[in-house]
């Protein structure tokens, strides 16, 4: 299989906005709900097209999610959208009780996740959201890696009758999704074949994983790169095959290592098919001040970081 990424980058925020408007044209149950974030939730176009279907509850995230759940109860399909740290953190209990436990069709859209708001500091970084959202039962957690997958996530969430959390990337990213790639809960995309080591990545880290694979292939190391847009529920078969068929798994996510993708993969393989792992993410600290790119470098969430982790894994593997 060839590596599908190229140098061109695409805007996931635009993909989110376009797809939402397209769906709303066809289904008038779709409404957007936001918290004084029409601009930052990419809802300006939606508001122009459907002024009465954009509900702005102001700066009030608990209200935001509760109102979303009520709209769903009233037969609407609300896309509830806010900066990811405040949506998930501030309204965690509403997400648990009103969206997930009540099984309402609320689509939670966490905008600008990870360390996209680098300089604004840890209050504005959304690195805990994957752990928090994974911990809530009956709440699929979706991390699209490119515009194609962002559109697929919006379509899937609109059609799926229960709640879901979509993590909408802020920055432009290369296209990584092959044409006709299937999309749904428990379905991963295997982007490259390889028998030496597996890299499982999500979101911003997927293109970096592909670049790392290319670098390692030049050294004769075969890397299996898996994009896992559903952090919950995971693609169990793909993970267990990787655990059996390769000598180690590196996971990479723009999130804390406490409880996100890496933890999900680790708790699966440790029960079924233990294998060496390296979990790349933010190592249980609050980030220093700096831009998003600076912070990704700072925490080794880079092509170099993935290459180093894979080499280290294989090195240890050789001596064990």
């Amino acid at each position: 299989m060839s590596i599908v990424t190229d140098a061109t980058t695409y805007d996931c925020r635009q993909a989110f906005a376009d797809e939402l408007i397209r769906l709303a044209e066809a289904d008038e149950r779709i409404v957007a709900v936001c918290n004084d974030s029409v601009g930052s939730s990419n809802l300006v176009g939606f508001r122009e097209r459907f002024p009465h279907r954009l509900i702005n509850v102001g700066i009030a995230e608990q209200d935001l999610v509760g109102v979303g759940a009520g709209l769903a109860n009233g037969g609407k399909i609300p896309f509830v959208s806010a900066a990811a740290p405040f949506l998930t953190g501030r309204a965690l209990e509403q997400i648990k009780a009103d969206a997930a436990y009540s099984n309402t069709h609320v689509v939670l859209c966490g905008q600008s996740p990870g360390m996209a708001y680098g300089e604004l500091g840890p209050t504005h970084h959304s690195i805990e959201d994957l752990s928090w959202m994974r911990a809530v039962a009956d709440l699929p957690v979706v991390v699209p890696a490119d515009p194609e997958q962002t559109r697929a996530a919006v379509r899937w969430a609109a059609a799926n009758p229960g709640p879901s959390y979509l993590r909408i990337p802020r920055f432009k990213v290369p296209a990584v999704t092959p044409p006709d790639a299937p999309f749904g809960p428990g379905i991963a995309n295997t982007l490259t074949d390889g028998d030496d080591v597996t890299v499982i990545a999500v979101g911003t880290l997927v293109s970096r994983a592909l670049a790392a694979a290319e670098r390692l292939r030049a050294e004769g190391i075969g890397v299996r790169v898996i994009n896992m847009p559903f952090v919950d529920p995971l693609d169990v078969d793909v993970v267990l095959a990787a655990a059996r068929e390769t000598r180690g798994i590196v996971t990479a996510e723009e999130a804390t290592v406490s409880g996100g993708l890496g933890a999900a993969v680790a708790s699966l393989v440790v029960a079924e098919s233990p294998v060496r792992m390296r979990i790349l993410g933010v190592p249980g600290v609050f980030a220093p001040t700096g831009s998003a790119e600076f912070l990704l470098e700072h925490f080794g969430l880079t092509t170099d970081g993935i290459v180093a982790a894979a080499r280290e894994l294989l090195g240890h593997g050789l001596h064990s």
Partner: protein, 292 residues
């Protein structure tokens, strides 16, 4: 952690001593001078960082300067002195004007302001208590500062201590329910040692407050929650000084400070896009010209 700038701290102490005996007019003249300097440095910080919330920085500047230079009992050389007054900037996105005010009051060297939001700087985009002296609690997510300030005021009351607590909130921020929870706690416990100042500039991030989720009748809301209400022009230092006098009713005091977002730079005033727009080099020049 940054440390006090000794000459500036001394200057600040002198200023406080001088102001204690000064006429209101003399006081106001000093505060105006500092406000102007703070606004100028905010322009430079935001232009350098290419990020920031200039509109809200400018609407709150006169409030910050009145509090720090004119009212609060603080010692920049001992920022954690137990008997200090507590000040909480709940609208933490306006860190630039808080940092600048703190620097002008000697809490750390003014030269540090140039590092605003730069990699590894202590001056993060939102106030950080661990790194910046003078910051009592981290803020940035709206709706956090008021409950923390209420707790501080409650601690003082429990100890019979005489220090006071002041919290500054955005008006858009008042849409967060946590603030009204704190307002009820404070009046229930009769926290006359707590003052909440709302920067009522009538704009929030995306639009006017009254077009987003209306707050009016705003003063009545405070009164009905058990607060003593004072309404002032939030750019009038003399009026702010008076409004910051202790409670006369035994109730906590809410100051609704009527302000203008972007105050001081004509092309930014009352314009929603300057919530977090970054001025171009020409706009920086024009702004600094107006702030002379």
């Amino acid at each position: 952690m940054l440390v006090a700038d000794p000459p500036l701290a001394a200057e600040y102490r002198d200023l406080r001593v001088r102001l204690a005996d000064a006429t209101v007019q003399e006081k106001v003249a000093e505060l105006q001078k500092i406000s102007l300097a703070v606004r100028r440095s905010v322009v430079e910080m935001i232009a350098t960082a290419k990020l920031g919330h200039i509109g809200g920085d400018f609407s709150v500047t006169d409030i910050l300067v009145t509090c720090f230079a004119g009212v609060l009992n603080l010692d920049p050389t001992r920022p954690l002195r137990e008997d200090r007054d507590r000040f909480v900037l709940s609208k933490g996105h306006c860190a630039a004007s808080l940092y600048s005010t703190l620097a002008y009051c000697g809490f750390f060297p003014r030269s540090e302001l140039a590092t605003f939001m730069a990699p590894l700087s202590a001056l993060n985009g939102h106030p950080n208590r661990v790194k910046v002296p003078g910051v009592e609690t981290n803020s940035g997510p709206l709706g956090h500062g008021f409950p923390v300030a209420t707790g501080a005021a409650l601690a003082a009351k429990l100890d019979g201590a005489s220090w006071r607590t002041v919290v500054v909130l955005g008006d858009g921020e008042m849409q967060e329910g946590s603030n009204w929870e704190a307002a009820m706690t404070a009046s229930h416990y009769e926290l006359a040692n707590l003052t909440a100042i709302v920067d009522r500039n009538r704009l929030q991030q995306g639009a006017r407050t009254e077009d987003t989720k209306s707050l009016e009748p705003f003063g009545d809301k405070w009164r009905s929650f058990g607060w003593e209400l004072r309404e002032v022009d939030g750019h009038d230092h003399a009026a702010l000084l008076q409004a910051l006098e202790p409670s006369t009713t035994g109730k906590p005091v809410a100051i609704v400070a009527h302000t203008i977002k972007g105050k001081g730079v004509s092309f930014m005033e009352d314009r929603v896009e300057w919530h977090h727009k970054v001025p171009s080099p020409e706009q920086v020049r024009a702004a600094l010209e107006e702030l002379r």
